[in-house]
């Protein structure tokens, strides 16, 4: 059964310097509050893993928490660039950022392999692209039946997965619905897991389309209402598109970002 604790305690307990950390949520249910808590606790040398870095990782990168980024699409959705990500890659500020770059299909399959206890996944991917030339974790494998050559990517098994969900019950069973992304796979692939939730309830009434993560497959649950803001939690909140636009102005400028960073500490 998952333990239910405060967010600060959960992050202190589960996230260590040098860890690989996957915070997932495909536009929906992004664990933003947990990301801020990792910044507050001053973690360093993290390998950040996430399909779409979004604001949550732009902040961590700008705050100097990350050594490496494993990802597939690094933009501010509907707005433009992730400026802290770009500044790290283009100018090495606040420090150099190593990249391990895939496509969405590759990343999703890496989580599937990780969740499945397999060392790699097979896909039809990367056809004709330059990605295999810059990403060492793209290889090929030959079908033992047809002789066809396919792409292979290694499993992702992060040290910690952090996701946000709508609800958990007191035994730590977690329920999320709407666009469910790769959250189940990330939690099952990780060595340790933290789920922040909008609310802890006595009973999880069934919801159409919901994914349920049993409490025995989750390490820690923390109640963090609004923990996905400015992304959203279907049934609880709307995406705050203005905040995504505001982030463009804050993150574009090192001084403005540094002031923002002071403000959250």
């Amino acid at each position: 059964m998952a333990r239910i604790t405060a967010l600060a305690d959960a992050v202190a307990d589960l996230v260590r310097d040098g860890d690989s950390v996957a915070m997932e949520g495909f536009t929906h249910l992004i664990p933003m509050a947990a990301g801020l808590e990792v910044i507050r606790q001053g973690r360093r040398d993290l390998t950040l893993v996430r399909m779409t870095p979004d604001l949550v990782y732009d902040r961590l990168i700008g705050a100097g928490c990350a050594r490496k980024l494993v990802f597939s699409w690094g933009g501010n959705p509907g707005v433009g660039s992730l400026h802290r990500f770009r500044d790290a890659v283009e100018h090495g500020w606040p420090g150099p950022l190593e990249l391990e770059e895939h496509s969405h299909a590759g990343m999703a399959n890496r989580y599937v392999a990780g969740a499945s206890g397999l060392p790699f996944a097979v896909l039809r991917g990367y056809t004709g692209t330059d990605l295999p030339g810059v990403t060492a974790t793209i290889a090929t494998v030959t079908c033992p039946f047809t002789g066809e050559e396919l792409s292979a990517v290694p499993a992702l098994n992060p040290d910690v997965a952090i996701v946000h969900a709508q609800r958990a019950d007191r035994a730590g069973n977690v329920q999320l619905w709407g666009l469910v992304g790769v959250q189940k796979e990330a939690v099952l692939a990780a060595k340790r897991s933290l789920v922040t939730v909008e609310e802890v309830v006595d009973e999880l009434t069934p919801v159409p389309g919901a994914v349920v993560l049993p409490g025995w497959a989750v390490d820690v649950v923390a109640e963090v209402p609004g923990g996905a803001h400015p992304s959203y939690a279907q049934g609880y909140s709307e995406r705050d598109n203005d905040e995504y636009r505001r982030w463009d102005a804050i993150s574009r400028d090192r001084a403005a970002f540094t002031a923002w960073l002071e403000g959250i500490r």
Binding site: S72, A108, T129, D130
Partner: protein, 224 residues
Amino acid sequence: MTVSAARALAGAITCFVGIGLPSTAANLARRTHSPDLVLIYESGALGAKPGHLPASIGDGVLAETADAVVGVAEVFNYWLQPGRIGVGFLGAAQLDRSGAINTTVVGDYHAPGVRLPGAGGAPEIASGCREVFVVLRHTPRALVERVDFVTTRGRGPSLVITDLGELRPEGGELVLTALHPGVDLARAKAMTGWELRVAPDLAVTPAPTGDELSALRALKAATG
């Protein structure tokens, strides 16, 4: 450009939609000539029927109006990869003469002038869909002789729609096959970063109809 892109979807049954202009065009197609067009978003919404334009690919309206919502791995593995989807609709930062798309870097990968967002779903959309359309603004920086980085190649676009006209592949390169009404051929050539070949039967696209323009206005007005 949006109207042309929407028209290009006439006859399509299923469309894998990127956010931005492709999403606007696909939703416009649903509101005009193709009410049954099935929109598939990489966020997992199959058959989304948004009443307003989603701001992002993960907008809640996509899940709420979809026939089915599936995980991201499933949308790529069960739905895109086997070739079930007719048209893939992509944007591009750079597109070259050969049809290769770059959304990764301007300049050298290891010391980029501009770091772009990266691949997202595009490499597999371009190889998994039966046909690929690309929409982008027509500038010499966008339509280049050779992309700095091949993010996406797949089977290559069968149609490129710009704000100046349309290009189609012919003998291994993209050639101009149509101009929008009032666009000068010399301007299209000047705005292309390679020596643009022109199809012998260069067409002019029909002007947007009143119905198309009002549907587009209504769609944009409903955007949250």
